[in-house]
Subunit: 586 residues, 2 copies
Amino acid sequence: MLRSHHCGALNENHSNQEVTLAGWVQKVRNKGFIVWTDLRDRYGITQLIFDEERTPKTVFKKSLDLGREDVIQIKGKVIERESKNSNMATGGIEILVKELTVLNAAKTPPFTIENQTDGGDELRMQYRYLDLRRAPIRDNLVFRHKVTMAVRNFLSQADFIDVETPYLIKSTPEGARDFVVPSRMNSGQFYALPQSPQTFKQLLMVAGFDKYFQIVKCFRDEDLRADRQPEFTQIDCEMTFVEQEDVLKQFEAMIKHLLIEIKDVKLDDFPRMTYSEAIQRYGNDKPDIRFGMTFGELNALAQNKGFNVFDSQELVVGIAVPGGISMTRKEIDAWIEWVKRPQIGSKGLVWVKCNEDGSYKSSVDKFFNAEDLAQWAKATGAQAGDLIFVMAGAKHSTRTQLSALRMEIGEQMGLRKADEFAALWVTDFPLLEWDEQTQRYHAMHHPFTSPKKEDLELLDSDPSKVMANAYDLVLNGNEIGGGSIRIHDTTLQEKMFGLLGFSEKEAQEQFGFLMDAFQYGAPPHGGIALGLDRLVAILGGSETIRDFIAFPKNNSGRDVMIDAPASLETAQLEELYLKSLPKDPS
Amino acid sequence: MLRSHHCGALNENHSNQEVTLAGWVQKVRNKGFIVWTDLRDRYGITQLIFDEERTPKTVFKKSLDLGREDVIQIKGKVIERESKNSNMATGGIEILVKELTVLNAAKTPPFTIENQTDGGDELRMQYRYLDLRRAPIRDNLVFRHKVTMAVRNFLSQADFIDVETPYLIKSTPEGARDFVVPSRMNSGQFYALPQSPQTFKQLLMVAGFDKYFQIVKCFRDEDLRADRQPEFTQIDCEMTFVEQEDVLKQFEAMIKHLLIEIKDVKLDDFPRMTYSEAIQRYGNDKPDIRFGMTFGELNALAQNKGFNVFDSQELVVGIAVPGGISMTRKEIDAWIEWVKRPQIGSKGLVWVKCNEDGSYKSSVDKFFNAEDLAQWAKATGAQAGDLIFVMAGAKHSTRTQLSALRMEIGEQMGLRKADEFAALWVTDFPLLEWDEQTQRYHAMHHPFTSPKKEDLELLDSDPSKVMANAYDLVLNGNEIGGGSIRIHDTTLQEKMFGLLGFSEKEAQEQFGFLMDAFQYGAPPHGGIALGLDRLVAILGGSETIRDFIAFPKNNSGRDVMIDAPASLETAQLEELYLKSLPKDPS
């Protein structure tokens, strides 16, 4: 071992001990006759002192050449500092160095290895191994380790078994695009990387494994939006002989356990909200309930009063911004411009100030009187001092736009606190959604989700009305998990594939093994999958998943550090019986 | 929840309780007026009783239709059995059934779901979800879960951090063949699936993570030998500021911990053996030291005595089979035929019986006298009653052949006991091996393994003599892990790539990021990777890794259950700018 202690271990109790430390040079302060050096490793920082009088001459001389990030080993004596630093675990001592070995000299890094670095995003991605040296990023990954260990131990103690499912599986056109892997031994054929272990975990239930979990990489070849990764990690779980309520209870307990164990935060029972309620009250199905500003629908109150902008629209809906009357006209205009940006795409905002004296001032005073506006205030829950923003338009887009506005105002008002946690279950999702483009139904969750028993008859008469035994777990305005009770009956599964536009042959080719399995004694089962990257980020007080992944890819799916993907040698392609085509074969 | 208890939970203490159980019908015994049914789940088996008198008529009637593997739910009362079965946890009770719901009827499975099944290998692979229902296979996977949890908790407590490294990386021609993944977003370019996270774990050490582990899937596109899988799981570990001894100690402690925790077996300190000693004494570098029969080299004793078969050969070497004089001539001939099979490829065996009276009888009595043979006995450690088998030939092939013979005799004599564990470290491997075919050196371990300091000068003068800081962990005659202290110096790494036939450009293209990283303060580091599939199999008392993998592939790399790999739709290939070529483009 090249060290007797790590750099976070020593304190006054070790005074006068001879120790050997190894680590990175964090900082050098040269006072001429004394050189102080901060030595860093994963565990902490220890101050070294090279002293013209007490340190051997050759060693002292060598210390003058030390530079940032050099890797060194030192031997020396623990001594108490003259002026202690109580903010550091090792702040009471320093090491009077007697021997110094430079294990590996370092070039000056392209950016500073400090909590606040001077390096830009791209540079830090290219030298990710240096960026990972910075305490905030390193701490994120240690934190991630703690979360996964806590998850594993919790689930293991609850009788879940960790079972590894295969990575080389079969491509299925349903859902997102697969990454595929050409098979050399089976020429012309391809494996696919799993988008999730969905069918395998269901087979494990058919096999009687009862409770399964896995923390597993999944893959989606999608055009990457900001903060999406082509490979991501899922906490994948499945249970047998359960109903929706059992799954919700089990994983509510897990999230509560994590928050206690990792963050020392005790959560109350999670509220439940139906999908349609979430859409109506928050404009989306993953509401951030850490703050209010819920939607008030104003159609009955605001239409047919002569204001054409409202009358012609499907939905008129508003939110009350707490204390918003203090906004200047300029600030209000800025919000109007904000919602009109193409990313949001709203036509504008109507505003109403609810003055402290009970009077109202609005941008539509011409069309609405105080009584009208009082009713709006009631519908949006506005109190004296609040400002109401109102939008009108098509139902879906207007809700989405107002939701974006609500979230941004919440953000700017500091209502989305990173150290405050609010979870809820969203339930009662529709089973199917109609896709105008392809003129067919898509599974809202996935094709294996079961319809609610009481809606089974609607499958034939009005499929769009069928509700699913599906549920999402939402934390701080992010969907961190979703699941369902699955279909476990061949006939129902066949019917579902039919609704999704599969021919019998296609269904058989792609999922024949699963429908076969259902005929040999498939138990009722259900489960959930949680996005680990996002869960860890949110628990860590951030929404940037990239900061919680050791080696993330950029928005083009590239690893700029190792420069992947890359060209193959022709021989490698030939062995796979493949030929690359030019991108534009014109 | 569809049950109040699982099928392994109930005993006499629950007598007279009303319970709800769910599970699979294991067995039905119809006595006319009474039907006994065994209900099975992961946790056990509970006996159900349907009684003409005490069970409601309609329920009793339904029970007559129950078949193997039907999934049912029952409600009933726990009653004590008249004749108890003390071999079962639930053997004291049975459930007098009052309500019966068939949750899912089952077709008769294609083979019996029993510990000893009537299903052949292929059928069981096709219906793997049914094979997984059999207790021995299910227990293997529960056992695997226990091993991984124990590994994770041990390493976590020893300050190792679980860090996920990427699966979509870059192809490198060194080593085995990569599986590649075409990139749609970067047309004409490919990712590769990792053969191991080697370079990433080294970068984590450069990043100061100090101690890393990961239980991770790795991929090799090799022509599959029996019991090799294209995807396999590795316990991957790396440590900073360590020397070989530190790594050995840490992972010896881990294996000891596993054996205590999982098998209640206490191991002594692991013996150490150099590579050359292992080759000389056991004929291979992963000796099974649970039994003797070590090699005795006989060149000095057996050559130049007029026996041409020996005189002309590079090596004469023998082993002593304990108690072997009881072998009949026919049995000895069978062994001679065994070693002459093409899989072994030996020319034959000379044998010597060491009689109890001190005399010798051999197949070469014409050439050697009793005194000669007494010396052979001494060299091979043969005692009175033993039989010596002697082989002669080229060094390498003869050792390999004799090693195969030793293992087979050990197997047949019952010396390779599944519940006995003998681990050792093999050290001092050569750094390089010369490959006649490609006329260049290959890395015996991998290109990142460091040479021993004292051999550094030999790198220029006689590379084949250089020893590596590499080590293998061997358990019961299987290599279950291997590792090394790595190179952490750019110049040495460049030299190593040069020896391995990389041009500077190739080295830079493929591993430039690593050599760059070494310039920014790379600490000394080393590690190990253990093959989880094999480790679990051996701990579980087997050498068949397939029985410890939930969904293994067959020898052609196919998953016959889901029928993968498979053809892609043309559109999918076009999106990837790829074209499949015919296998024989003539």
